[in-house]
């Protein structure tokens, strides 16, 4: 077992919603108590529905935002305002929407070189260009794409550029925020293969954020299931898909449509909507929608238990 490249301890993030002139300020608890470790060459998937805090987690890990509580260690260095510059090159991010994540006024080459211009200003321009062209081939584009603008590329090609830009600084951790959910099916598999190849070749660690369980099942090594800002189940992939200990994971899995018409499975129907992260219920956050909930669930908040397959539930299976 190798040394983890990313260790997160109890990460918590809150936002304040201004209540206007007369209203009261409300606190959105976007992320509460996220702890995990990620080893080089491994993929940790974060799964959940909208508002579950997975994108907030991405923003905290990539140091776009500072968490209000908790800490994380990147490659042996604790992250914080003092180490920000040093760790900038350790973690990079790929966004969901390849149309919004590339600057429309920059050529592909400029986009790839920008991280180098900022972080290694002493590097000669010729060297930068050489690396950018190398990167184009690495992510499956052609060197002559160097001079094109983003609008000349298709969605899949743009996502390749976005992956390339993230890799320019040779990071150790790559945060992938729904990297394939905006892409067509036939393109999605191309990008997933690219990510698998790059991981094998460069020993990258992926924090793979997704809502699509079939993609997660394919690419992940370990999975965190989140609900309303809290991890509710953490397990190695095989264990999780084999048997789910938390009722929410069970419901999520049964709600995912399977591309097999012969499979008429019994679906667990969840009643109700996702509660908003502004007023998270006391007790277990999933209790109002849970079919197993009892009085205890509504008053007492369950914590993650110990072991390799952890669940935060009073009545885990």
């Amino acid at each position: 077992m190798s040394e983890p490249v990313l260790v997160a301890e109890n990460l918590t993030q809150e936002y304040v919603l201004k209540g206007g002139l007369f209203g009261q300020d409300r606190i959105v608890r976007a992320l509460t108590g996220a702890s995990f470790a990620l080893e080089p060459g491994k993929t940790l998937a974060v799964v959940g529905e909208s508002g579950c805090g997975k994108s907030t987690l991405a923003r905290v890990i990539t140091m776009i935002e500072e968490p209000v509580a908790g800490s994380f260690v990147l490659d042996g260095t604790p992250a914080g305002p003092d180490t920000l510059a040093a760790l900038r090159t350790t973690v990079q991010i790929v966004f969901q929407d390849p149309f919004g994540s590339l600057n429309p006024r920059q050529r592909c080459g400029q986009i790839l070189e920008e991280p180098l211009i900022i972080n290694a200003p002493e590097m000669p321009a010729a060297e930068r260009t050489r690396r950018a062209r190398e990167m184009l081939t690495l992510v499956g584009l052609r060197p002559e794409h160097y001079d094109r603008y983003p609008h000349m590329f298709s969605g899949g090609q743009r996502q390749r550029i976005a992956v390339g830009r993230a890799l320019m600084l040779e990071p150790k951790v790559l945060v992938l925020d729904e990297p394939v959910s905006a892409l067509d099916l036939s393109i999605q598999s191309q990008i997933l293969n690219l990510l698998v190849d790059l991981q094998e070749r460069l020993g990258l660690a992926y924090l793979f954020i997704s809502h699509d369980l079939s993609v997660v099942k394919h690419i992940a090594d370990d999975v965190i299931v989140m609900y309303l800002g809290r991890p509710v189940e953490i397990a190695p992939k095989a264990d999780l898909f084999d048997h789910q200990r938390h009722p929410y994971t069970k419901a999520l899995l049964s709600a995912t449509p399977m591309a097999d018409p012969t499979l008429r499975k019994q679906r667990i129907k969840l009643v109700g909507e996702l509660p908003s992260p502004v007023n998270i219920p006391d007790g277990c956050p999933f209790a109002p929608r849970c079919w197993k909930a009892e009085a205890r669930c509504r008053t007492e908040r369950p914590e993650l238990d110990q072991g390799t397959h952890r669940a935060a539930c009073h009545f885990p299976e």
Partner: protein, 325 residues
């Protein structure tokens, strides 16, 4: 007689650099009570075909077809006034983005009652009663109070329910659901799909499901039509399509599903969907096809018979001996 009959529908758009064919020879026959799914990637023209039938395309579009009839009306010759009577009443549509499909300035109750007033001419009391009834039908709790809510006060799933309630308000004969669950979360998606299916069973309307999600298709549809670059490349009954696809594109698409993967490397379809400027001469799928020959690159393939799923291919796959005989 079938409810909807479309033969050889083509849609061209005038753009900066010449015309662009978004839909090419689209055929569809729909009987009352059918659940048909139209599957395709973005740019395959699956939404455009239906927008063309409803007359909702901008003036840059040129629509041609050999036949386009709905419930006895010829949609090609119909006047805009007549068309408005059909669209939204007998033929209605729900869209992908529930948040933007509703007018944020009015309460959802006002919007649903407006449809009832215009198409059915109900009086105030009847409208209100029907609106409450509809909201209950689509599973909106506390229907009475929700009528006076604005779209931004409700979640995406609730708004999509409102959209569905509006769409079925006039008891349509055909409901077109254009990516109805793409913008929704998985657990909500399951609820909405259940709802659409149960409504279809209750009312016996025809349901057209436009989607790119193979999982949704497998769990919902009876008939599946696969679109590629504006053309229909295959149409089959759902179980047959998933077990024995006849067009190489369908086969490749199914193989690319991560849940069907057996190794860490997924089988892929190389390249991208042809755009306006790189449309191949022969079979549109030939540049990306693994079994394409020279013939495929030069000659557009014929449309096959029903026994091979109308596959538009020179070399349909998964064909048994008696089928080819």
């Amino acid at each position: 007689m079938s409810l909807l009959e479309v033969r050889n529908l083509s849609v061209d758009f005038a753009t900066t650099s010449g015309s662009f064919r978004a839909v090419d020879g689209f055929d569809l026959t729909l009987n009352p009570g059918d659940i048909t799914a139209i599957v395709g990637e973005s740019g395959s023209g699956k939404s455009v075909a239906f927008l063309a039938m409803m007359g909702l395309l901008p003036w840059t579009a040129t629509i041609t077809s050999d036949a386009m009839t709905f419930d006895g009306h010829d949609l090609r010759a119909i006047s805009p006034r007549e068309r408005r009577k059909i669209v939204g009443k007998d033929m209605s549509m729900i869209f992908q983005e529930p948040m933007t499909s509703l007018n944020p300035c009015y309460t959802v109750g006002f919007q649903i009652k407006e449809a009832l007033r215009i198409h059915l001419g109900m009086d105030r009391k009847a409208r209100h009663a029907r609106a409450v009834e509809l909201f209950e039908q689509v599973g909106i709790p506390a229907a009475e109070t929700r009528l006076s809510a604005f779209p931004h006060q409700m979640s995406g799933g609730m708004n999509q329910r409102v959209m569905i309630a509006m769409a079925i308000a006039c008891k349509p004969k055909m409901l077109i659901a254009d990516e109805p669950t793409t913008a929704l979360d998985v657990t909500i998606q399951a609820q909405i799909l259940e709802l659409l299916k149960s409504l279809q069973e209750e009312t016996g309307m025809a349901l057209v499901l436009i989607t790119h999600d193979m999982g949704v298709v497998a769990e919902t549809a009876q008939q599946v039509s696969v679109q590629y670059a504006g053309q229909k490349c295959e149409q089959q009954e759902v179980t047959a399509l998933f077990s024995r696809p006849h067009h190489p594109y369908t086969a490749a698409l199914l193989a690319a599903l991560p849940e069907r993967a057996t190794t860490k490397h997924l089988p892929t379809i190389p390249g991208v969907v042809p755009g306006q400027f790189d449309r191949p001469k022969g079979c549109l799928f030939s540049p990306r096809c693994s079994i394409a020959t020279d013939l495929c690159g030069t000659t557009p393939p014929p449309v096959g018979g029903p026994e091979i799923g109308f596959a538009r291919c020179h070399f349909p796959i998964n064909v048994t001996a008696e089928q080819s005989a």
